[in-house]
Structure formats: C-alpha cells, structure tokens
C-alpha cells in the first residue's frame, strides 16, 4: 500500500522556488492521488483487472509533469504518488534481481490495481446506496402519527411505619383527649414588667397595684400568676430606682408610683415609707 511501501521522502514539494507564490489546486476536484489514478485508468477503457499499470504510471507522471510546467502546486500526496509510480515503473522495466528484498514489482503493481478496483467498487455501491429512495425525501412515514394514550392505574404504597405511627398517633390523641391536662397559663415576669411600665407611665400618684392589674385579673384562674409576677417585677423596678412602692401592713393593699426626681421624692417623704428591698 502506498503508505507502507513508499520508500521515498514524501517531501518532494519542497523543490518549488521559495519566492514563487503557492498556487494550490485541487487537481480539478480529485479526491487524492488514488482518485486521479482511477480517473486516468478509466481513460484506458479496459477492465481494471487487466489494466496496464505501466501505462497508467506513465499517464500519471505525464499529468503531474504538465501540472508542474503550469507551475500549479500539487498537494504533497500527489507528488508522493508520482515518486512511488516512477519507482514502480523503473522496477517493472528492469529485470527482477532474484534476491531483492520486499515485495516484487509485480506484487506492487497488483496491489495498486487491487486498490483501484476496491475504490471503484466502493464508489459504485455508494452511488447505488444513494439511489435508493430515502426517508423524508422520497418516501414518508405517517405525517400525523396518533399517540398511544396511557391509562394510569394507581398502585398505592405505604410503609408499615406509616401504618403504625398513624395508629399510635390517633390512639394517643383520642385517649389523652379524655384526660386533659389544662394548659398552664402563666404570666411571665417580662410580660408583667412590660405591662407595669406601660401603666406606671400613665399614673402620676400612688396607685393600688391591684387597680393597675385589674384588666389582667378578669380570669380568676390567672390571679395568682399575675400577682406573683407583678410583685416580682415591681421589686425589680424599685431596686433599679424606676418605681416606688409601699404597703402599710401585711396583706394590706400595695401602692406604687413612678419614681420621681430626687427633690420630689424628699418632699414626699411624709408619705408612705419605702420598703427596703
């Protein structure tokens, strides 16, 4: 084969004068040197199997020579083939020396003829293939295929865990519903303090704590938590100096007021005494 057997340096194109502009031609649209050889062989108008490789080599070399005279630059492939054919020609013309290494000139010529026949054969089947009616060009499938409708059957899934947790949750909910632990309503210290601060801001004089808290005492159940949280919150506010409180005796009503400026506080000292905290 060409690549295997070619003993020549393929770089024959290098002998072009370097100052001449390269004019690349595709040798009239041939698809490589084998294609060109095939075209030349066809001119012999004989069966490719019986073709004279010697004559073909002469034709090819003449063609290449003509192209070179026209200063057409041939692609290197064509020149490689030219060199190989020139070599083959010389081998074919000289009597074979018995001990020559490698393939004989006859073998080389046969191989070339084989390749030409093979290329031609593939060309032929390619043509025949393309002559076949082609889909969507010559023949057509149904233009408006009718879709297959899918009927979906549900397949239910659930895990044993789903089942058991659903059961346990329901039973638990129902059984606990009968033994209801009332939610403990607690007035937190911070809630109490926020309310007291709001209320003290409005009051100018001593007020009874229970009056401040009246609006929170509507629910009797809340009374203990409101009183406890409020009292604790007041103690804290007094310690911070934000409020004053007094109580005449144990269990007596608790009075408180906003902490006045220092002077006012003194003038009021006749009033209820401050309890130490």
């Amino acid at each position: 084969m060409m690549t295997d057997d070619n003993p020549f340096n393929p770089d024959l194109a290098a002998d072009r004068a370097s100052d001449e502009p390269a004019l690349m031609v595709d040798v009239e649209g041939f698809e490589g040197p084998l294609d060109l050889l095939l075209a030349l062989a066809r001119q012999q108008k004989v069966d490719l199997a019986k073709i004279s490789i010697l004559a073909l080599a002469d034709q090819y070399l003449a063609f290449v020579e003509a192209a070179r005279k026209l200063r057409l630059e041939l692609a290197a492939d064509y020149l490689v083939m030219a060199a190989w054919l020139a070599y083959l020609k010389s081998r074919l013309l000289l009597p074979e020396s018995g001990g020559a290494e490698g393939p004989s000139a006859e073998d080389m010529a046969t191989a070339l003829a084989y390749r030409l026949r093979r290329l031609e054969a593939f060309r032929n089947v390619a043509e025949r293939l393309l002559e076949r009616p082609q889909l969507s060009r010559d023949i057509f499938e149904r233009g408006a295929p009718e879709p297959i409708a899918e009927i979906k059957h549900p397949q239910y899934t659930a895990t044993l865990y789903d089942l058991l947790s659903a059961y346990a949750a329901q039973r638990e909910k129902q059984s606990l519903a009968h033994v209801r632990f009332a939610k403990r309503n607690v007035w937190s210290l911070s809630e109490a303090r926020a309310a007291l601060e709001r209320l003290l801001g409005q009051a100018q004089d001593w007020s009874r704590l229970d009056q401040f808290l009246i609006s929170y005492l509507v629910d009797p159940a809340l009374r203990p938590t409101v009183v406890a949280s409020s009292f604790a919150a007041i103690l804290e506010m007094v310690r911070e100096g934000a409020a004053e409180m007094h109580q005449h005796e144990a269990f007596a009503p608790i009075y408180l007021r906003r902490r006045m400026a220092a002077a006012e506080t003194t003038s009021d000292s006749a009033g209820p005494s401050r309890r130490p905290v």
Binding site: R142, P154, T157
Partner: protein, 236 residues
C-alpha cells in the same frame, strides 16, 4: 403502472364497482398524500397536488369507502380529510401503566384502625378517630385491595364490617396479623407515649375469614359496591 401496482384491489361491496375494474392511480396518490400529511388536508390543497383532471371529491369518497371496513378510516373533519384509527379500535391505542401513588394521611389512618380493630364498622372507625370518615377514604382502601367488606354487624342499621386482606399482609410484609406490634412494642419503639391513661389497650385483631358471632354474611349486592368503587377519591 408497475406490475406491482397492477396487482390491484377490487371492492367486494354491493355499492362498489365490479372487482374487475383497475384501481385508479389517483387513489394511490391520494392515500399517499393523506398519509404523509402532518394535518388534515382540504380538497383545494389536494386538488393542487394531484394531476389535473382528477375528480378529487369522487376519489376521496371512493377512498373513504375502501377504508371504511379497515383499521384505519378516511374521515372528514372540519372540511378537511385525514386518516384516523377506526373508532372501535381506540382501545388499541391505549397503554396501561401502573403509577405508584402514596396513600393519603386519612386513608392510612383509617387503614390502621381497620387493621387493629377489625372487624370494625365505619361508625366505630369514626369513634376511634374522633373524626368523620369520608366515603371516598374507605373506597380508596377497598381499591387498594388491602381492605375488604367482611359482613354486617348484628346491630341496629346492620352496618358493614371491614377487615384486612391477604394483600394487606403481603404489602406490609406481615406474616399474619399477630405480627402487628402490640401495646408494649408500640411503647418500646417510641410510637406511643408512656403517658397514657391506665386501661389503655391495643386490641389483638384477627382477620379470620370466619364471621364472628356478631357478624352476619354480606347480602347480595354488597360486594358489587366493593368491586366497583368510584374512581375519584376524596381526601378528608
């Protein structure tokens, strides 16, 4: 005409031409055009594509008659002509497929009650759940094949009793109903809170097909309802 085309069809119908007549080439042209078209074609379009002189309407009518007994019919829709699968074969163009669907919360809760408390009536289910059970929920459970109608309770109103099936055991990987965890196991697994009132029990259910003493057999017609549940399910 090719030799193949000469091996023509003739119509054996009474209103048709005698079978010896050659099938006109325009029938071939029409069927090819209509087959390849992406949408139905009107007569004007068809006429423009066919050789001059073809009686489009007559050819269409003949083609329609030819295809009438076939699996594919030539039909006129909105003034345009096209091939369509014969109406009686629409079943052929359907494909059954199974889609997994998760059981609704209400359904799985009801299923759990049925499993533990069977044989159980709808009223009893509602009492345990503390919520009324939509009819659709029990229908879905019957559709799953996991719940069945067992019989009728010997009680006023003779309510239907529900129980689980073998398919239920199989789906949940239970060998028998005895494998359903009891009170201690439910507590142990943390599914049940420890803070339960004394006297709280988990029943030992049985799916014994034999009816209990307080059950009567189903009446004729009861099972029809069970086998043909409405397709739509309602979640509650």
């Amino acid at each position: 005409m090719t030799s193949v085309a000469k091996r023509r069809l003739a119509i054996a119908g009474d209103e048709m031409e005698p079978m010896s007549e050659t099938r006109p080439e325009e029938l071939r042209l029409l069927e090819a055009l209509l087959f390849a078209a992406g949408e139905p074609l009107d007569e004007k379009t068809l006429a423009a594509r066919l050789p001059a002189g073809v009686d489009v309407r007559a050819t269409l009518e003949r083609l329609k008659a030819e295809y009438a007994p076939r699996g594919v019919n030539l039909v006129r829709v909105a003034g345009k002509w096209g091939f369509r699968t014969a109406g009686d074969l629409s079943w052929l163009l359907t494909k059954d497929s199974v889609v997994p669907r998760k059981l609704s919360r209400a359904a799985i809760e009801t299923l759990a009650i049925v499993a533990y408390h069977q044989p159980v009536t709808r009223a009893e289910i509602e009492e345990i759940r503390g919520i009324s059970t939509a009819k659709g929920t029990l229908d879905v459970l019957l559709e799953t094949g996991w719940v069945r109608l067992r019989g009728r309770r010997k009680a006023p109103g003779r309510p239907v009793t529900y129980g689980t099936t073998e398919a239920f055991l199989s789906h949940f990987g239970l060998d028998s109903l005895d494998d359903l965890p009891g009170l201690d196991e439910l507590k142990g697994s943390g599914l049940l809170d420890g803070r339960l009132p004394s006297g709280f029990t988990v029943p030992m259910p049985s799916d014994d097909p034999a009816l209990r003493e307080d059950e009567d057999p189903l009446e004729p017609g009861d099972l029809d309802l069970g086998l043909a549940p409405p397709p739509e399910r309602i979640e509650d």
